[in-house]
C-alpha cells in the first residue's frame, strides 16, 4: 500500500464552476438541443412524405388515366386527368430532370429515404451528446449550489504510480471527480492492495527461483507469464494467496478455450521449459492431480489436436518419454478418454491440495503432456500410450525428479 504522507487540496466546487455560469452553459446546451430537435422533426417529415410518395407512385400505374383536379396557379383548378401514368419526371437537383418509369422512380425515392435516415441517425447521435452535456451541466450546477467540495489526496512511494494515475484521471474530469472522490480513495486503496499483493507474489516466486533449480525458474516464468496474463482476474480477486492457483485455473480454462492462446503461451517458453514443467508436475503431482488437469487438458487436447498438430505430436513424444518413467504414477493404461475422467474425479481433492501448494501453473504443463500424447484423448491415454521414445530433453528432466 502506499504508505507515506498524504497531501491534499480542498477546493470548493462553486469556486471552480460558479453556479450561474453552469446554468448559462446548461441553457445554451438546451437551446442547441431544441434546435437539433427541430431539425430532427423536419427530417422526419421529409421521410414521411417520401414514404407516402413511394406508395402513390406505386399505385398510379394501376390505371391508364386518373381523373384529377389540375391546379392552375395557386388559386384555381381545372378538372382533368392524369395520362401516361407510368412516366414520371423526377428532379435530380440543379435543374436536372429525368423521365423514369414507376419502378425506377421508386428506387430513386428509396435511395433518398436511406440518405435521410442516415442523416437522422447522425442527428440523433449529436443530440445524445448534447443531452449528456446538459445533464452534466445540470448536475454540476446543482452540486455547486449545494456547496460541494472537491477533495484531492496524493500518496507517495509505491503507490505514486497509480495514485498519480488516479490523480490524473481526476484531473481530466475534475467536475466528475468530486462525486468520485469519495469513491476514488477507496478505489485507489483497492488497486494499491492488489498491486502490492502482486508484487509480493512475484517476490515469492523470485525467492523460490533462487532457492530451487531450473524447474522452479520455469515455474516462476510460467507463473509470471500467467500472472501477467491473469492480472485482471487477480485484481478482481486479490484476496487470498491460494486464490491465485484457482485463478490460474480458470484463466487457464479460458486460455484453453481459446486454444491457440494457450499454445502460444506455451510457445513463449522454450519447449524444454514447458516440458520441464510438465515433467515437474508429472513427478510432483500424483495422478490425482493430473486428473484435475485432465479436465483442463482435455479441452486443450481437443483444441491442440484440432489446431496445431505438429506441436502436440512433438510434445506428446516428450511426455510419452516422461510418462514411461512415471509408469508407476500413471493411471490405468486405458487409452480411451472416459476412464481417466472418473479416476480424476476421485482424486480431485488431493490435486486441489497439491495445487494450493504449487504456486506455478502446473496446470499448464499437464495439459501439454496430455496434448502431446494423443489427439482428443484423455491424459490417461497419453500416459498409457507412452510407447514413443522420449526425447533427450525430457529424459534429462525426468532424472531430476
Amino acid at each position: 500500500m502506499g504508505k507515506s504522507e498524504v497531501k491534499g487540496t480542498v477546493t470548493s466546487l462553486s469556486s471552480m464552476f460558479p453556479a450561474e455560469e453552469t446554468q448559462k452553459a446548461a441553457k445554451m446546451v438546451e437551446e442547441k438541443l431544441s434546435e437539433k430537435q427541430n431539425e430532427m422533426n423536419q427530417l422526419k417529415e421529409f421521410i414521411a412524405d417520401n414514404t407516402s410518395l413511394i406508395n402513390l407512385v406505386q399505385k398510379l400505374p394501376d390505371e391508364l388515366h386518373h381523373d384529377i383536379m389540375v391546379p392552375f396557379g395557386k388559386a384555381a383548378f381545372f378538372p382533368g386527368r392524369l395520362i401516361h401514368t407510368n412516366e414520371f419526371l423526377v428532379l435530380l437537383g440543379e435543374s436536372y430532370y429525368t423521365e423514369r418509369t414507376a419502378k425506377q422512380t421508386v428506387e430513386i425515392l428509396k435511395r433518398r429515404g436511406k440518405s435521410l435516415e442516415s442523416k437522422v441517425d447522425a442527428l440523433k447521435a449529436v443530440m445524445q451528446d448534447l443531452k449528456a452535456e446538459a445533464s452534466f451541466f445540470d448536475s454540476t450546477a446543482s452540486e455547486a449550489a449545494e456547496g460541494l467540495v472537491e477533495i484531492r489526496e496524493y500518496e507517495e512511494d509505491n503507490s505514486t504510480k497509480w495514485a498519480s494515475q488516479s490523480g490524473s484521471l481526476e484531473l481530466e474530469t475534475p467536475s466528475v471527480a468530486e462525486a468520485d472522490n469519495k469513491m476514488g480513495a477507496s478505489e485507489d486503496d483497492d488497486y494499491a492492495r492488489i498491486m502490492s499483493r502482486l508484487e509480493e507474489l512475484e517476490k515469492e516466486e523470485l525467492a523460490a527461483e533462487d532457492n530451487e533449480e531450473n524447474l522452479e525458474d520455469e515455474d516462476e516464468d510460467a507463473n509470471a507469464v500467467e500472472s501477467d496474463s491473469n492480472e485482471d482476474e487477480l485484481i478482481k480477486a486479490a484476496e487470498g494467496d491460494g486464490d491465485e492457483d484457482e485463478l490460474t485455473k480458470p484463466a487457464f480454462h479460458r486460455k484453453k478455450d481459446e486454444g491457440y492462446s494457450y499454445l502460444d503461451h506455451g510457445q513463449r517458453y522454450s519447449e524444454s521449459q514447458s516440458r520441464k514443467q510438465l515433467q515437474q508436475f508429472n513427478d510432483k503431482e500424483p495422478i490425482e492431480e493430473m486428473s484435475n488437469k485432465y479436465k483442463h487438458q482435455d479441452l486443450t487436447n481437443q483444441f491442440a489436436s484440432t489446431g496445431l498438430t505438429e506441436e502436440p505430436v512433438t510434445k506428446g513424444e516428450i511426455s510419452h518419454g516422461r510418462i514411461i518413467q512415471e509408469d508407476t504414477k500413471t493411471l490405468s493404461p486405458s487409452i480411451n478418454a472416459s476412464a481417466p475422467f472418473e479416476k480424476k474425479s476421485v482424486q480431485t481433492s488431493k490435486s486441489e491440495f497439491d495445487s494450493s501448494k504449487a504456486f506455478t501453473g502446473s496446470i499448464v504443463e499437464h495439459t501439454q503432456n496430455l496434448d502431446k500424447s494423443s489427439v482428443g484423448t484423455n491424459t490417461t491415454s497419453l500416459q498409457s500410450s507412452g510407447s514413443q521414445p522420449s526425447k533427450p530433453v525430457s529424459r534429462f528432466k525426468m532424472q531430476r525428479k
Binding site: 412524405d49 417520401n50 407516402s52 410518395l53 402513390l56 407512385v57 398510379l60 384529377i68 383536379m69 389540375v70 391546379p71 392552375f72 396557379g73 395557386k74 388559386a75 384555381a76 383548378f77 381545372f78 378538372p79 382533368g80 386527368r81 392524369l82 395520362i83 401516361h84 401514368t85 412516366e87 414520371f88 419526371l89 423526377v90 428532379l91 430532370y97 422512380t105 425515392l109 433518398r112
Partner: protein, 151 residues
Amino acid sequence: MDSLRQEKVQKFEEFVDRRLKPDLVHAIAERDKIFDQQKIFSDLRKNIENLEKNSVTSLRTLVNLGSEVYMQAEVPDTQRIFVDVGLGFHVEFTWSEALKFISLRKEKLERQIEEYTRLIASIKAQIKLVCEGIRELLQIPEEKTVEGRVF
C-alpha cells in the same frame, strides 16, 4: 432626480422594444402576405387572359405529385375553371366570370393592404414619439430636420 429620470428612460425604452417594435414587425408580415395573394390573383388573371387570347381548349401540364416528382396531365376542356373564393370553397366559373371575380378580389385585397399600411404608419409614429420623450428627458438637443438644400 437623476435616478427617477433614468427609470423613466428605461421604461420608455422597454416599451418601445417590447410592444411597439414587435407590433411593427407583425403588421409588416401581414401586409406582405396580402401582397403575395395579390400577386397570385394577378398571375391567374394574366393566364386566363392568355388562354382566352389563344383560344386554348385543351391543355397539357405537369402535375407535381410531391417532392418534385411530376406527371403529365391533360385538361380536355378549359372552359370551366374552379377558383378559390376563401374559407375552403372553390367556385366553378367560366372565363369571363373568373375574370370578373378576380378583379373583385383584387379590390378587396387592396383595401386590406391600405389598412395595414395605416397601422404600420401609426406604430412607427408611436415609436418616434417615445424616442422624442426619451430625448427630452436626457436633454439631448433636438435633431434639426434638413430643409431644402444647404448651400
